[in-house]
Symmetry: C2
Subunit: 500 residues, 2 copies
């Protein structure tokens, strides 16, 4: 192999190690840290971030990348080497444009803004958060200014989460999707409601937890290379391809949510466990984008985990585990219950039919903020108006409205649309998968997920960050991200459940 490529990989390997070390510290902070330990932890994470950044944007890296671009000029663009140089160059150029002093400033602002958001949400008082969000937005504009002028200023933000994706693409997708989802929800609202009261009985925490691990182990999440721990919020994190962890929680007022959270996070985790080990410690490790990542979690959570075939296999076990809660509930009723559609205020609790509308609302507000077409102080009012328009309900207070999500407080503007895109991608892949795998439903009905996981490994997981998301989708499904499969999926599923 090229001597210079080896040199580059040695440096990027260390950058990756430091990043993984920071991930361990972050995981420990969520899972284990004693109450007084967080302040020093923040300092340690700051230092690791600074070291990784310094190492990565060193002129030596830039020089190696320049030389390597020439050296590999005629190489197959689909080769791992070409991909590594391409992805590293893209990330290097982006990182290099941002002054380290800005990174420090942004971290400080985010930290204060996060604290203000916590207080604002707890008091349901937007005015506490407002000046901080204004400052966050100011820095977002500054961040955009460091980068080359794009078609739309929001493109710069989106590209960090969804490489190659444009604001106009997302808008076009959402514009096609919105009326169809709104129409579907109206039709459901006019039908006979579904019962789901049995989901909110008292369930034993340990039994639910163990059941969640039974499911994800059956999916193919490898506990030899991972573990599930308790944390305030479910998440997935990777320390290497051989140490990919998930967290989960148990909420007594929504006990079975633990099962779906485990399926969701295991979807992320199986992606990470399936990446080509040769990409370890290079910029090709990790998932292609947030939307592709989310497609994996949503597929296992929803397309598999809220499907009838899945529960044909698992419901007898679940019923046996919780006879007093579910003894009188037949499979069909259970299936309908876990798929109940109901416009609701909180995004993270939204069902499959309404979820994307929460995202569209946020995307519109973010774009308006970036375009300067909305004043921060007017956000609550606009939020509530859009909730009324899309979902027919209005939050009783800002805590359940504009203050519900953490993202803006940390400066993560440009992130939200990837959640909805992930839903679309999951259905788009699902149509392809069902063409490639004969009788997938029957396999799932027998608790056999290996062919499905094998397909995902082969077509998605192994490639890591080698392909940009739209290229990957084009390669695998013959089309870029499109909303049609998701609409077909929703219509078919809910027409059956609600007899539309």
């Amino acid at each position: 192999m090229s001597e210079k490529l080896n040199q580059l990989k040695a440096i990027l390997g260390e950058v990756s190690d430091v990043g993984h070390a920071a991930a361990v510290l972050g995981w420990d902070q969520q899972v284990n840290i004693p109450p007084a330990g967080s302040e020093a932890r923040g300092q340690q994470l700051g230092t690791l971030g600074k070291i990784a950044q310094e190492k990565f944007i060193a002129d030596e890296v830039g020089g190696l990348l320049e030389d390597l671009k020439k050296e590999f000029d005629g190489a197959d663009p689909a080769s791992d080497e070409a991909a590594l140089i391409r992805v590293a160059s893209r990330n290097y150029a982006k990182a290099k444009r941002v002054p380290p002093s800005f990174v420090v400033e942004q971290a400080l602002v985010a930290s204060k803004s996060f604290e203000a958001w916590v207080e604002a949400r707890s008091k349901s008082d937007f005015s506490i958060f407002q000046p901080h969000l204004e400052k966050v937005l100011e820095l977002v504009h500054k961040y955009i200014s460091f980068h080359p002028k794009a078609e739309h200023p929001y493109d710069t933000l989106l590209d960090d989460f969804e490489p190659g994706m444009k604001t106009a693409d997302v808008k076009a997708i959402f514009d096609e999707l919105r009326p169809q989802q709104v129409e579907l929800i109206k039709a459901i609202a006019a039908s006979k409601p579904v019962k789901d009261d049995f989901l909110y009985k008292k369930f034993n925490e340990k039994k639910v937890w163990d059941f969640s691990e039974t499911i994800v182990a059956k999916f193919g999440y490898d506990f030899n290379r991972g573990r599930q721990d308790k944390a305030p919020h479910p998440f997935q994190t990777s320390f290497s391809v051989n140490d990919v962890r998930i967290t989960n929680r148990f909420e007594s007022d929504n006990p079975l949510a633990t099962l779906f959270s485990a399926m969701h996070e295991s979807g992320h985790a199986m992606y990470e466990q399936g990446i080509n080990p040769d990409y370890e410690r290079t910029p090709l490790e990790g998932g292609a984008s947030l939307a592709i990542h989310e497609s994996q979690s949503r597929m296992w959570e929803n397309l598999v985990g809220r499907s009838l075939p899945f529960w044909e296999y698992f419901y007898p076990q679940l019923k046996k585990t919780f006879p007093s809660q579910l003894g009188n509930v037949n499979l069909k009723s259970f299936y309908k219950g876990i798929n109940k559609v109901e416009p609701s205020l909180i995004r993270v609790n939204a069902d499959e039919a309404t979820y994307n509308l929460h995202i569209m609302l946020r995307l519109e507000l973010e774009i308006a903020m970036v375009e300067g077409k909305v004043k921060i102080k007017d956000l609550p009012e606009i939020w509530n108006a859009k909730m009324k328009e899309y979902l027919g309900i209005v939050p009783p207070n800002n805590a359940k409205g504009v203050l519900q999500d953490i993202h803006w407080s940390g400066g993560a503007i440009g992130y939200f649309s990837t959640y909805a895109l992930g839903n679309l991608v999951s259905a788009q892949l699902w149509e392809r998968i069902n063409k490639d795998i004969q009788g997938l439903d029957d396999q799932i009905r027998k608790g056999n997920f290996s062919e499905l996981l094998g397909w995902l490994r082969q077509n998605i997981h192994q490639h890591g960050q080698k392909f940009e998301p739209q290229t990957l989708m084009q390669n695998v499904t013959g089309s870029k991200i499109t909303p049609a499969p998701y609409v077909r999926y929703l219509k078919k599923k809910y027409s059956e459940i609600y007899g539309l």
Copy 2:
């Protein structure tokens, strides 16, 4: 404050952060890591170690230290600033002498040697370990050669664990101690044996674990700034003064050992929790030396935790927790049982009266190795001969003899004597404490440990690494480390127990 001192502290702060990050990764590796995760973790730890070393031995640090030594030339040597510059300069000079390539080579040799040791011990076959230990010793000689010639080559090794301590000092201490401990053991062997069979009954793991936490919380180990987790071996580790963790284990064939391990590790942990927070992220954080650290763990484990007043307070609770195991055992019998003296093969299981002899044996072998007076292949034979001489027993195999300890496999030669010195220091401090605190036994009898912990905080803990161990002991007890208090302690305690 001096601008240059601020610059130095900024760099050393980052070095400390990276070290603490590595500590988190190491803790996680012992406590949580899934089976397949260790290889990547080794790589990550290697990278963090390299980064910390590079940052610390940077010429910038050397330049700042030179300038600061001049700037603070007339400063009070007992000031924090002078101490910081002194300790940082000492560590810098040491680190700078060792080429980074040697550090890498040593890590590789240690890693292979550790694997060979694991196999050798499991097969009880010294020949598997022998060539690796020879290589380890070769590197030890090389390491010594990087440093200025000392009175004795072993001094260089010892100084890394026990700053300022000389081989001749330790030898003199041990020479005074050895005959008195041997004599005591002989006297005990000639007396009526103590019964301890009740300690080896079946005890409920969770109840023992909870009891261990009750004890250490009562001592003053602050769970708001720490936690106890399960690990293969008990240890203590610090991520900051506000996050000091301990680990423990439960062995069904020695169930109450969990209580004493918790007391031991909490002794280390209370030391770390008590260090002046101003020393955080500077070279003054952490304990003064391994012996001083061990004195704290041994004090809480033995001088407190195996004392009669302690169990006068805790035994009724213990008996109530385990009525079927201890219902027929009175306090005096229990006290004698946990203090039973019996020459045994394994150092970590040795009682207070025999423990130091295990250490002396190891020190003699280490010195002989460093002096080149013993061939590695002859170690098992010499080991067994010394066991016979000091303890009157001979290991039936090398797994229970020369292969029992991990230390040599990792290149940690020069470490062992600090265990015995820790015992001596604990008793030397104890005599001072009992002069300073009136009625300490009565306080302990009432489960009141706050004055004791306050004394340790005031006289030992808060100072961190500010003083070298011998200076600290001179300041606090009026004398350098001496064996007399420990001998007095042992004789008094065991004369009563065994009616000598």
